[in-house]
């Protein structure tokens, strides 16, 4: 700072500096609650999980001091059939759910983006599925998906949706004559797809309102100009609306990715990972390994799996940012 003429500015500058110090202290005081809470329960725990992933800690409350085991947990994770299976499951879940919830949300937002009478009433009804908890929705669909339930009645089928372990691509491999295809290429199981449909049902409205907010920020003259150029209906949707929505698409896809990779509630409540572990997710596996209800708890191993999951999510979202977002800069 300019302190070349202390005589002239000295006292007032000193006052100003002490004011600035007070101001800064007030700022820190105001954000102190977050610094403490976030420092311990978010960042602190993140470092802690990283540390734990290199140990053989068993039960969280174990009296035996955990030992450092290097990369053992990570090596083991990639040869653990359950973990690989859960990754395959969650990958299909991410692809299907993110794709359909984004498309569905865009279409509904476009449908709602109009000046028709009573549109707010429809908007309210359409938003309702995302208001309630995933547990409520899961319990309701538990009933709807029963073998003698309403969904089978409407479809004219008799499928035990949540117990059916056959996979989407099984018929394809059978006709090709491939014996024992790898788990991953068999695609999601019927039970898993039933949970996907339920999840899409609840998340479409969440993302719909984001797209709707973005659509309402598009000034009317944009479409008028397009209309003069002969772009109406689908052409105007394809060439005007979609490109304008691109930043929101990026956001929705990234939020969807973060959400789907951690899916837990629905799988826990509806199927607990079954049938034949075709709905087992990494979060569910980590949960089981930590609590150890079925086996001995292995918190260190669970921590390594949690860290791998976090790493996969970060890598995929970075790739998505690179491919969806740059075009918005144009």
């Amino acid at each position: 700072m300019a302190t070349t003429s202390p005589k002239m500015t000295g006292p007032s500058q000193q006052r100003r500096r002490s004011l600035a110090t007070r101001e800064a202290l007030t700022g820190y005081l105001f954000i102190a609650p977050y610094l403490i809470v976030g420092g311990i329960f978010t960042y602190g725990l993140l470092f802690y999980v990283f540390g734990l992933s290199f140990t053989n800690l068993t039960a969280p409350f174990s009296r035996v001091a955990p030992q450092f085991v290097g990369l053992d947990n990570y090596v083991r994770a990639f040869s653990e059939p359950d973990f690989l299976r859960s990754l395959a499951n969650v990958f299909w879940y991410f692809v299907v759910v993110t794709l359909f919830q984004t498309i569905g949300a865009i279409l509904l937002a476009v449908l709602l983006n109009t000046r028709l009478r009573g549109i707010r009433f429809f908007r309210t009804l359409l938003y309702a599925p995302s208001v309630t908890s995933s547990v409520v929705i899961a319990l309701i669909f538990f009933w709807l998906y029963q073998r003698f339930g309403i969904i089978n009645y409407i479809l004219g089928t008799e499928i035990a949706w949540l117990q059916e372990a056959s996979h989407l691509f099984d018929p394809l491999w059978r006709t090709l004559g491939v014996q024992n295809p790898a788990y991953f290429v068999r695609g999601p199981s019927v039970a898993w797809m039933a949970i996907m449909v339920m999840n899409i049902f609840t998340t479409i409205p969440t993302f719909m309102v984001m797209f709707l907010a973005a659509l309402q920020d598009v000034p009317g003259y944009v479409y008028e100009a397009a209309e003069l150029d002969g772009a109406t209906g689908w052409r105007s949707f394809w060439y005007i609306t979609l490109p304008l929505l691109r930043p929101v698409v990026a956001l929705v896809v990234i939020l969807g990715t973060i959400g789907t990779f951690q899916v837990f509630d629905q799988a826990y409540v509806l199927t607990s990972g079954g049938p034949l572990q075709t709905t087992l997710t990494p979060s569910l596996l980590i949960f089981q390994k930590t609590l150890g209800r079925q086996t001995t708890p292995e918190a260190g191993f669970g921590a390594a799996m949690a860290f791998i999951l976090a790493f996969i999510i970060v890598v995929i979202t970075i790739i998505q940012r690179r491919y969806i977002e740059p075009a918005t800069q144009q």
Binding site: L46, T132, S133, V136, V209, P219, G220, L309, V314
Partner: protein, 301 residues
């Protein structure tokens, strides 16, 4: 029909293909589609609400009925009176009570601490401000699935398992609220606050007496996000509140589902106990809910 823009401010009547007084074909198609999707979206709630009044035989009848043959409130009474040997007293009222006071407490602390921090980020100059703000944005990516294990280990060591602390203390203040309210405070003019500050009201006084009252809509919108988040939260309470006495409604309902795998009416009543309070709130404050929905994502940008 072309995609119409409907912002109130852009009041250019451009619907050339809409006759005054009549409905265009496009509008009719739109109404039909909207009605169909609204029914689809809302029917699971209606069907299961109606289902709660059916007898156990009727609920699994095939072909299924829509309206119950005899309206039977016994299921509701049965679920309300649900007990287990290891716990004294009724469980459902207790879960309802736990969920309610926890949600209210979470909303209160988050409104205060988030707006306080947001005010500092929007108005006060201090070294490291941008760094801390970035840390808050980055923390959105660190999700529960990653931190549950260390949290469980940590809480076990300090004796927090089966206490309410793990669902109160880490939620005193949440990143999404700070981000959302910071954006809001930045959007309102400073002049009023500056005048008050000059009059010697001090920073806290300015925040409390001037900035907060001006932010009522934003605070209400955030309160909805906070309430919904707390009311619907599942993973953390499932892990940390294992004692049936301490459970919240969603955890209690899942506990219930595993106790009564085949009692579908009871399961549906349980779901309704969880869904109805938030749906009622939603129909009263739907504008704020929907605003919060469009906001919660954008705050993360």
């Amino acid at each position: 029909m072309a995609v119409t823009s409907k912002r109130g401010t852009v009041a250019t009547p451009r619907s050339t293909n809409r006759q005054p007084g009549g409905l265009s074909l496009g509008a009719i198609v739109r109404y039909v589609l909207l009605t169909f999707f609204s029914l689809l979206a809302f029917s699971p709630f209606i069907l299961s609400f109606l289902g709660t009044f059916k007898t156990p035989a009727e609920i699994t009848a095939f072909p299924p009925t829509i309206l119950p043959q005899n309206w039977d409130v016994n299921n509701w009474v049965r679920v309300w009176n649900f007990t287990i040997p290891s716990v004294q007293g009724l469980l459902l009222p207790r879960w309802l009570f736990n969920s309610t006071w926890l949600a209210l407490l979470n909303v209160a602390t988050q409104l205060f601490f988030c707006s306080l921090a947001a005010y500092a980020f929007a108005r006060i100059r201090f070294p490291g401000r941008d760094f801390f703000y970035f840390a808050i944005i980055a923390s959105l990516a660190i999700q529960a699935a990653v931190t549950i294990i260390p949290a469980y280990v940590f809480y076990s060591n300090i004796g927090w398992i089966n206490t309410f602390w793990p669902v109160i203390i880490p939620r005193l203040v949440v990143p999404v609220g700070i981000l959302m309210l910071t954006q809001f405070f930045k959007s309102i003019p400073k002049e009023l606050e500056e005048a008050a500050y000059m009059d010697g009201l001090g920073r806290f006084g300015t925040y409390w007496r001037i900035a907060l009252p001006l932010s009522r809509p934003a605070l209400l919108t955030f309160a909805i996000i906070a309430f919904q988040g707390s009311w619907n939260e599942f993973l953390a309470p499932l892990l940390f509140l294992q004692n049936p006495n301490l459970m919240t409604l969603p955890v209690g309902m899942s506990f219930f589902r595993f106790q009564y795998t085949n009692d579908l009416t009871a399961i549906l009543v349980g779901a309704m106990f969880n869904a109805i309070p938030i749906l009622v709130l939603f129909f009263f404050f739907n504008r704020y809910f929907i605003e919060s929905g469009s906001y919660s994502g954008l705050a993360g940008q």
